[in-house]
Amino acid sequence: MTLMTDALEPTRFDSDDDDAMRGGVYTRAVSVAVRLGAIGLGALTWLPGGSVNWARWIVVSLLAYMLLTYVVARRVESKRQATDRLATAMVTSAFLVVLLPLVSVVWTVVERGSNRFDSTFYTETMRGVFGEIEGGGYHAVVGTLVVTALTALMSVPFGLFTAIYLVEYSSKSSRFSRAVQALVDVMTGIPSIVAGLFAYAFFVFLDGIPVLTALSTGVGHRSGLAGAVALTLLMTPVVIRASEEMLRLVPNELREASYALGVPKWKTIVKVVLPTAIAGILTGVVLAVARVIGETAPLLVTVGLAQDTNWNPFEGRMTTLSVYTYYQYVQPGVPPQVGQDRAWAAALSLVIIVGILFTIARVLSTILKPKGLK
């Protein structure tokens, strides 16, 4: 390739700097022509077959775009400018290529999920559903809400107090604080299925203690509580990291001013430090909830699957939207379409919930941001 393009470039005696000076030649018109040419070249690929093959069209167009950009820039500008334009073309193409699967995911979920995105889906359960009966995911919505609420109830105070300890009470270099920091890192890396296995093992152990039978569960150690314990293991480190970062951003002058007024330390934390950091902390918590609400694997192991609504997380199996999606898709029943439609509707509900949580996080972080903090 270099041979060919070198031949196209007549004056190789120019220094690179002089070449760079000629940058104006690659006008907007040239760049538009290059892009249109690339798309046109791509379009040629579906001429022989007669039908549009989108994937091939896009791939060929992008490759042609990179190649044409380089060759044309090499022709009218310098080698350095051509490399620069090639890099720009490649980075932009990579971005466009990434958009394809991601847009496809969202589009597929919305398109197929809307088949059953109706009121029966949110009012009926899977009790006694077979064949072409529509059924619904009300019990899965309930399960998701109960398990997630329980998880948040456990991991938010746990995580927040740990962060407060790390920032406000311990000195950064103390051995205990460093150990906690390291273990939080370890916790962040626990695979979700392993968290599920731990919760399972933990509740098997609890079942073995006679006094604690009240906590233990009926069928095969499955319960909403066990699922919440597994999710707490996953959510707590996220809450700790988010709150810790936000607490460290609170300027020390605020604390000192509060101490100078004779306010005790705990009241300084509650009345001064936390309100200053609350926007970031709440945002972090909401995002952490968004992360765990779609978890499937640990719940598959700990919560199981139920056909009916179960509001009680301390006894019996429950169904969550994520596990429901999985089972409705892989075991859809006899006309598979009915079950798979339910799976897509549940998937759509999950994506919508995550989207709503993200929007809430964004709104919170702008509303609650304290004035005057950089």
Binding site: A20, A55, R56, D84, L86, V91, T92, A94, F95, V98, P101, S104, V105, T108, R112, F158, L160, F161, T162, I164, Y165, L166, E168, S170, S177, V180, L183, V186, M187, G189, I190, P191, S192, I193, V194, F198, Y200, A201, F205, L233, T236, N252, G262, P264, K265, W266, I269, L287, G294, T296, A297, L300, V301, S322, T325, Y326, Q340, A343, L350, V354
Partner: protein, 319 residues
């Protein structure tokens, strides 16, 4: 910071009657709660280790005849499948993720960049089960119609693309691509953060010397962001290793070691094997699955430790 650790000593000594009664009880309770939460982290992690080990241990103490094969023979193909799938994902995702991060940090118009960053974060939060059913319903048919037959015809001399190509698309390659799509937002988010932190003066110095934008990126941005990219990739690897549902839905598993990525015979991954087998298992089977979970934990722990080491040694006074 020093002041927060030592509450003003003079004030306390000079006029202790003012400060003492207000602060003591509340402080003790609040401080105790905080310390307790931090200590609970240690307890929790210890509990995770203890419970997994005690529940996994019966696998090794059981009689030989209890299992159809030894634990090593059981977990070996799973470890292979886990690392293979994650390696494919990382190989595909890292270069693209770096490019996307560069696009967001240095190429896209500034206002667009913020929205794009938000979009990428949102994609990282889409549940894995959704990616899984998308992979099997949309991606697998496309690949088994176009890419796999082509690879079988034209690239069969490589051990990865031998016959016979899957017609259902439930292959290691499909799983790897879906995993790549899933870890891409993570690597992108971290790389973007470090790229944005490149000291402004480095960039401007490079541009002032006449560098083109790409040369500036190679001279200033990439060297500064290298450790960040690596630790981002490692975090992505950790996620890919532990990813369960997408693989469980997509892969057609078989027992053994398979290099070929386009057939219906694939080594399963540890996490996916647990998810598929656990609901129907009982007795020692459960113990064996928990033992494989421990192996997975050990692998991801190693990877994450490495990522931390790289990221902590990486930034060296560059600001």
């Amino acid at each position: 910071m020093t002041i927060t650790e030592n509450p003003p000593p003079q004030a306390a000594e000079a006029d202790s009657s003012f400060t003492q009664p207000i602060s003591r009880l509340g402080d003790r309770v609040f401080g105790g709660l905080s310390f307790g939460a931090a200590a609970l982290i240690l307890v929790t992690l210890a509990a995770v280790a203890i419970f997994l080990i005690t529940e996994g241990l019966p696998t090794f103490t059981a009689d030989e005849g209890e299992f159809d094969r030894s634990f090593l023979a059981y977990v070996g193909p799973l470890v292979f499948g886990t690392t293979y799938a994650a390696a494919i994902a990382l190989l595909l995702a890292t270069p693209v993720a770096v490019a996307v991060a560069l696009y967001i940090s240095h190429y896209a118009p500034r206002r667009l960049a913020k929205t794009l960053g938000y979009f990428v974060d949102l994609l990282a939060a889409i549940p894995s089960v959704v990616y899984g059913i998308w992979g099997i319903a949309v991606l697998a048919p496309i690949l088994s119609d176009s890419l796999y037959p082509w690879l079988e015809d034209n690239a069969a001399f490589l051990p990865f693309f031998g016959p016979t190509a899957s017609t259902s698309g439930r292959t290691m390659m499909t799983a790897g691509i879906v995993l790549a799509v899933m870890v891409l937002p993570i690597i992108t988010a971290i790389s973007r953060e470090v790229f944005l932190q490149t000291p402004r003066l480095h960039e401007e110095a490079s541009l002032a010397l006449g560098a083109t934008r790409w040369e500036m990126i190679r001279q200033a941005v990439l060297p500064f962001g290298r450790s960040g990219v690596i630790s981002g990739a490692m975090l992505g690897l950790g996620r890919a290793l532990g990813e369960t549902m997408a693989v469980a839905i997509i892969l057609a598993p078989a027992n053994g070691y398979f290099w070929n990525v386009i057939t219906n015979q694939n080594s399963n991954t540890i996490a996916s094997n647990i998810a598929l087998s656990f609901p129907e298992s009982s007795g020692l089977e459960v113990n064996r699955l928990i033992a494989t979970g421990l192996v997975l934990f050990a692998i991801t722990f190693g990877v994450n430790a490495m990522a931390r080491k790289i990221s902590s040694t990486g930034f060296s006074g560059a600001d």
